[in-house]
Symmetry: C2
Subunit: 332 residues, 2 copies
């Protein structure tokens, strides 16, 4: 596929800023791609971008409208359809992260057909993937893994891409979730793939490349998450990572969505991830630890990072507070 | 769903006996359910059941026609459709293990609608599953795991069900693949579930039960299979097994479909499966080892089993040659 940029960020009638979280992530990591936002009268979110009509977006060269917003009740309302149809008629593609598919809205499907435009429902993989073959391929890969879901794997992967590109290294973020796909312009919602093809989809996503090229692969879930570990191990096996970065949020009380499950100790978590990774890449090793310290006071955060770094003999950073330079320094 | 028996086994124009492997498995494990077979003129398979027309099957009380055959080219031919439509018109349901869906054949979909019959495409889960909640539930569960794919997990699970029922224990085989689903009359093709819901589907399949009831859960894949480990770990987490049985085929040269991957040592394989199982059931333990010794001479088989049993201090049997009584003896 590959979603074409520049983007117009469609915020619809988002009830609050949090509902536009996906759009905000895209605007943060790809400011050059996001030339404007379109808000309906009842919208309570704001990305700080220029407000544009479809006609203004067209004049600004927009190629795709990104529906990066959680809407009320999960539906695509009539008010949205009018604007989105206008975008298609103006020659733009649409990309959505909603569960409800754009292609299942007859008016949009029809308009896309008439105007020869594409509809991307990024939560729903449309490609067919092969079963993983497990064969070694050239190029280097770094995978972010976590003690839990939602501990900063996407942020860390993107921060690594930015730092490596700044240093002139060949590096590409590889997206495995909806926000990441908008940011990369392509990718696979790996948790929506048929179980048999998880690793195969990741092999497709991170193909053979130059020997000095790094894929920064966005991790998902956790080997210690009782709901999602299948996704996680499939990602590990398919990515064949040379390098792993552990992501963690130290104030989390229990595994996300599972009140009876504690977070694993960092050492045990790294051990299990290495065991899994070494099946398809015997040289896999941890190169750093990324901690989301937003729940800690600055002093406590520094102490925590020092302790962790010393205990595991690895650079430990908060990507937001310190960047990830120390982790990139530790790559081969 | 639940496929109603008795069954008529539809062998179509199977080119050889191997093409009817699924049907043969069903006839072996559920002889009372399989009252006849229907073979088209060009059929080269034979289950040793009574040959029946649809009218004869109807008279014999058949409720479902099982399409348990690999056909030529993966298509549902015109010759099949005539017979299968007749079955629907006679009041029977259809169940198929083919990749190509019955519901995608307009003539069959229409006939099922007209006659109020059901079409079961058992390779394609149609239920919606919840994400796994990881909560402990009453009842006991045994899961077969393996060093590789196709090492006897289904056979072992069914042999355990038969042995336990013979002893008057409460035991139900829980099917996770197409042949198993025909044998159980219900189940989930777990490798065809969306990745996010693997464990949740298994929680659905093995629900709360009497404290002394055993689910015998059919395992899939292997933690050491670079293509399918996601399915395997999701199965382990969802099943929350109290007991595990390791299945192995000692003459296998490499992991199935992966020439570069060796089979894991049995001890390491059990260790990794226990690590995974103990996330959702800290009391999980191995209770036996089931070896497919069909590739060994009888003397070599006996020596192998004795060595394995001594090394891991567990009953080691070939379910075909010895039954699984020694494993059932070892259950709490």
């Amino acid at each position: 596929m590959a979603i074409q940029h520049p983007y117009l960020m469609f915020l619809g009638d988002a009830p609050d800023q949090l509902a536009a979280k996906t759009a905000a992530g895209v605007a943060h990591w790809r400011p050059d791609w996001c030339v404007g936002q379109l808000r309906l009268p009842d919208c309570h979110a704001d990305l700080g971008l220029k407000d544009m009509t479809i006609a203004e977006a067209k004049a600004a060269g927009v190629k795709s409208v990104i529906v990066g917003v959680a809407n009320r009740g999960g539906k695509i309302s009539e008010a949205w359809i009018t604007v989105l149809t206008e975008a298609l008629a103006s020659g733009m593609d649409l990309a959505s992260g909603l569960h409800k598919k754009l292609v299942d809205v007859p008016a949009l499907r029809e308009a896309a057909k008439v105007h020869g435009r594409q509809l991307f429902d990024v939560r729903h993989p449309t490609r067919d993937f092969d079963v993983a073959n497990g064969k070694t391929r050239p190029g280097k890969r770094l995978l972010t893994v976590g003690t839990d879901c939602s501990v900063g794997k996407m942020y860390t992967s993107l921060a690594l891409e930015a730092e490596m590109r700044k240093r002139g290294m060949k590096a590409d973020f590889r997206a495995t979730g909806q926000t990441g796909i908008f940011i990369a312009g392509d990718g696979v919602s790996i948790d929506a793939v048929i179980a048999d093809f998880i690793s195969g989809a990741v092999e497709w996503l991170t193909p053979a490349n130059d020997a000095d090229h790094w894929d920064l692969v966005e991790g998902q879930g956790s080997l210690f998450h009782a709901s999602f570990a299948g996704v996680t191990i499939g990602l590990i096996h398919g990515a064949q990572p040379d390098a792993l970065v552990l992501c963690h949020e130290p104030t989390r009380k229990h595994m996300r969505g599972l009140p009876d499950y504690q977070l694993p100790p960092l050492g045990l978590c790294m051990e299990r991830n290495l065991e899994a990774a070494r099946l398809t890449n015997p040289k896999a090793r941890f190169v750093g630890i990324a901690i989301n310290t937003s729940g800690l006071k600055p002093d406590a955060a520094e102490t925590y990072l020092e302790t962790v770094s010393k205990e595991y003999d690895l650079p430990a950073v908060d990507p937001v507070r310190h960047g990830v330079g120390a982790i990139v320094d530790n790559l081969d």
